[in-house]
Symmetry: C2
Subunit: 299 residues, 2 copies
């Protein structure tokens, strides 16, 4: 029995930032998001990886109790390479080898069917739709994406958004998808597609959540040392849905809390490469930062 299903990629990443580099590191939207969600509740992955995927990477996910029934293994692992400059706000993609992702047909395992919370992590929107077709009863579908799909499969992506309860994007994606520089305008256009809430992640500048009749904003956690922002958006989404699944309260005030839990978890993730920092922490650390968010914004 899992509470949260995460669909996305399980990848090997080659990443360079001004503070170091890693090769073949554990990455992918499903890895980051499921890891983060697992701090809050029982989480299962739906993804594909290659037969060359290192056992120690798998062990990292298993150790957190993530259900891997939905992880297929075939061919070569999806590989992503990226480089960050000093401002760290956007990666330059240097490499995208789809490999096993090319013919992936996601199947929700029987054991996952009662899960009420679904995170459609960043992956081809056609695959996101295939997952949605297999799930009739989910209480909450949260969808994330990336610029690549806005450019190549915008129509399919809009279809996914229409069928989602919460749509999450970053500021650059919001501007690109809704063709406006203004984030409030972008969020309003996104809400018109149907989701009950729209979240815009602004990296170090925090996050905004819009519903048809409310607006919530949180600052970003003031990190003094950032090593690698890869996966922070996925970690945000994972903690967001994990907290909601754990509390089973979709009221607006609780969703605001979920945004802050997402921000707190993501802030840890930026402190080291791959899932290295997340491996060090427990829910206690996330709670601690959640409370710092409260103190920081008080006036």
């Amino acid at each position: 029995m899992v509470d949260v299903i995460v669909i996305g990629t399980v990848a090997m990443d080659d990443i360079e930032t001004p503070f170091g580099k890693v090769t073949g590191a554990l990455g992918g939207s499903a890895s980051y998001a499921a890891y983060s969600s697992s701090f809050f509740t029982k989480t299962g992955i739906v993804a594909v990886t290659g037969e060359d995927f290192p056992r120690e990477h798998l062990e990292i996910l298993k150790k957190r109790g993530i259900d891997m029934t939905g992880l297929k293994k075939e061919g070569k692992t999806f590989r992503w390479g990226g480089k960050y400059k000093f401002d760290m706000n956007e990666a330059e993609t240097l490499k995208t080898e789809l490999n096993c992702l090319d013919h992936f047909n996601p199947i929700i395992p029987k054991q996952y069917k009662n899960a009420n919370y679904v995170l459609l992590g960043n992956i081809d929107p056609e695959l996101q739709l295939k997952v949605l077709d297999q799930l009739d009863n989910a209480s909450l579908v949260v969808t994330d994406t990336m610029n690549f799909w806005i450019e190549s499969k915008k129509d399919k992506l809009l279809e996914v958004i229409k069928r989602s309860d919460v749509f999450v994007m970053n500021d650059g994606e919001a501007r690109q998808l809704f063709e406006t520089v203004n984030l409030v305008q972008a969020a309003k256009k996104a809400l018109k597609l149907g989701p009950r809430a729209v979240i815009i992640k602004k990296g170090e500048h925090g996050a905004m959540m819009f519903t048809p009749d409310s607006m919530f904003m949180t600052v970003g956690y003031p990190l003094e040392n950032i090593k690698d922002p890869t996966g922070c958006g996925d970690v945000f989404g994972g903690a967001f849905i994990g907290y909601l699944a754990k509390t089973a309260d979709l009221g607006e005030m609780n969703m605001r809390k979920a945004v802050v839990y997402g921000s707190a978890a993501a802030s840890y993730n930026a402190e080291d490469f791959s899932l290295n920092r997340m491996k060090d922490i427990s829910l206690d650390e996330i709670e601690k930062r959640f409370h710092e968010f409260r103190q920081i914004k008080e006036f």
Copy 2:
């Protein structure tokens, strides 16, 4: 009797943004800051302008009850020209005609000598120092600056910061002045120079205030329509010091409130060119937005 002294420029601006343009509009750091401070308390200007300065511009400042005893008139008015692109975060300076600013020697009028709150608005740091030399008893000296002085008079600027209680800069200036991309690190370096608080303005992304043992962050007000961000930093500083002068409470929690009042006032200023939007509002509107800031960040 004035409570707040504002030193800075009183200028005519030629500004172009994607949403329009103005020529010879009322501008300058002292105009914006004094106007904003005057919503909270009695404010006097120390500045110079030209004999060609339009009477209707002066009337706008006088109508708010700003004391103009410290405004000298000679030669030609300082003129600034700038252009903003779509992201509106930074102006490209197209024109800087110092004119009457060239030989300005700021004198604090006798009537201002009992003022306890001093805003050293953006102007040559040598002039800021001359003002400081004339004021022994101020309870609070707040200093603002801009990139131009970081490039041309860094040593003098550092001297001003050392003699200030609160130093205010924007994120770009913080990175430039303290040679680090990380704003927390920049703020710590600034605090080491001596001020009791350091504020970093991040435009649409809000503001941060650091003291030796606390950190405060506020989001930016989510504006749907921004016409011209010119003067927003000055309006922030004016409302910040005006609120503190009015409440005469320099405790950290009250300074946090002052940052939010500064942010609320600045958000109005961005809605139109020059002081056009500020002319429409009263303290009630600023209070209203202050309370929206509370609601927006609640979780």
